[in-house]
Amino acid sequence: MGIKLLLDKANVPGIRGYEVYRREGGYRSVEKALKEMNPESIVEEVKKSGLRGRGGAGFPTGMKWSFIAKPEGVPRHLVCNADESEPGTFKDRYLMEFLPHLLLEGLIVSSFALGANDTYIYIRGEYAWITDILEEAINEAKANGWLGKNILGTGFECNIYVHRGAGAYICGEETALIESLEGKRGNPRIKPPFPAIQGVWQRPTVVNNVETLAAIVPIINMGGEEYAKIGVGRSTGTKLISACGNINKPGVYEIDMTISVEEFIYSDEYCGGIKGGKQLKACIPGGSSVPILPANLLLKTATGETRYMNYESLSDGGFATGSMLGSGGFIVLDEDQCIVKNTLTLARFYRHESCGQCSPCREGTGWMEKILHKIEHGHGTIADIDLLWDIQRKIEGNTICPLGDAAAWPVAAAIRHFRDEFEWHINNPVLSQTSNFGLQHYADPIHVPA
């Protein structure tokens, strides 16, 4: 069993409620932070821990915190990004649903470190029942003196509010989230100014992912240096991976980032292998926007090294032969899956979720969906593949926010690694409507199931 820092108590009966959570050692980090530490020393511990943002971008959290402006007399805010919407990602949902107090505990400590008194959890609108769970937990925490005025007699005031979104992937982007929190359309803002200077209501704001903020609890409890000893290189601590697709055991797993991709997919402790004894064809290892990899490049890097479940190893080889850890949304495709169709559903997703502000993204995502639709339905031409490549290239890097890149990458990677499957669709318009390209040479070379 690997090390668990976040989900170690997830199976304790009643852990969702305050009594059990506290009995199991909950809220110790708040006591330690408020009584024995000060905001600066907490930020120092987080820097030492090497914690990187768990929402997908992987930016060092301690550094992000140190950017917050502290103008005299202007309130600062912490906003928890619970707008989890990246296809394949459902880890924050799990954490909030089963361990709501862990998130609150992390939020209180983080709010103290940032000098924020009013903290918001921006949760995606569809997680309606989790909103109720969080509000219940907030009431319990308040009743037990962990929220409100003068917490633990230290004079520190902290209030946490849940703000429900209403169905918009783009609000996971921090400036769109801030716009949405202000009651507007989720159109990302042009940076600078960065939220740390002018965020919600023009006040200094830090936006962090749910898992990132929950990880503050073990960091404070064990100390940043101890936390940094777990993992490897710049991938410190543990990471939640939500695994889905054609595997035996879909679900949320906490890993310590030293295990190999092969172990993660095939061991019974994690995904338990490919469903139905089929063969692995491809995998999107970090949420739908990261590059898809064929089995042969997934388990080993292009230079033949074992690939591990961490930031550095998954991105080994760059986009040419690697991918990203991203949000930890691990999507596994077996031999029966069609890459063209999978790419089409993702292109449709990004077209649907584009806010429409920047023309490369607004127009480009629509074009990509239409062309993929055409190829999938047997009306494509070889020139369409080049057109797709051209469009994605013109979106990437040319938009205000990263949604443009997120829409371009899956299409680019699908063509890069599976061009012959696209060609097969085009050259076999009738056959491709009833049968599948299958594995061909994509088969995982080291794993032939018995």
Partner: protein, 165 residues
């Protein structure tokens, strides 16, 4: 038609508005629209949006532009129960196409349509964050996961029973 919140709904609105700093009551717009949609017929007619605007002291256009941006707000009448079936990648590779086809067949409606008795609306949606429990759909506040044809049958029967009672 004019709309007015009852006392309970008004208390809830005030609780939501109190989450934000003074003068920033527009921030409560999304929560307020959820409340309005859930309190009446499951959708947002113009008059209802105007009412929300008046409660938050903002211009009606500020409400319209927001309501039309977010996919959870319905701008057309809907059935009593909305089957919001996910069709994105992870659900698709887990068989959502078959589930969508089966629901269409059982309810005799196409995506975006409502059954003649006004009970069910079928809506195709993008990733709801239940990829490990696919295929799935959202009905009201809850997720119905690991869908099979048999499960769809029993879910339809379950909601139908609440109406005929």
């Amino acid at each position: 038609m004019t709309y007015t919140f009852n006392e309970t709904q008004m208390t809830e609105l005030n609780r939501l508005v109190a989450h934000y700093p003074e003068g920033k009551q527009k921030s409560a717009l999304l929560p307020a629209l959820h409340l309005a949609q859930d309190s009446f017929d499951g959708w947002l007619p113009t008059e209802l949006m105007d009412y929300v605007a008046s409660l938050l002291h903002i211009e009606p256009i500020e409400v319209y532009e927001v309501a039309s941006f977010y996919s959870m707000f319905n701008l057309k009448p809907v059935g009593k129960f909305i089957f919001e079936v996910c069709q994105t990648g992870p659900c698709m590779i887990s068989g959502s196409d078959d589930i969508i086809a089966y629901i269409q067949q059982q309810l005799a409606i196409k995506p975006g349509e409502t059954t003649q008795d006004g009970v069910f609306t079928l809506k195709l949606v993008e990733c709801l964050g239940a990829c490990g429990y696919a295929p799935m759909m959202q009905v009201g506040k809850i997720f119905r996961e690991h869908l099979t044809k048999e499960k769809v049958d029993s879910i339809i029967a379950e909601y139908r029973a609440t109406v005929t009672k």
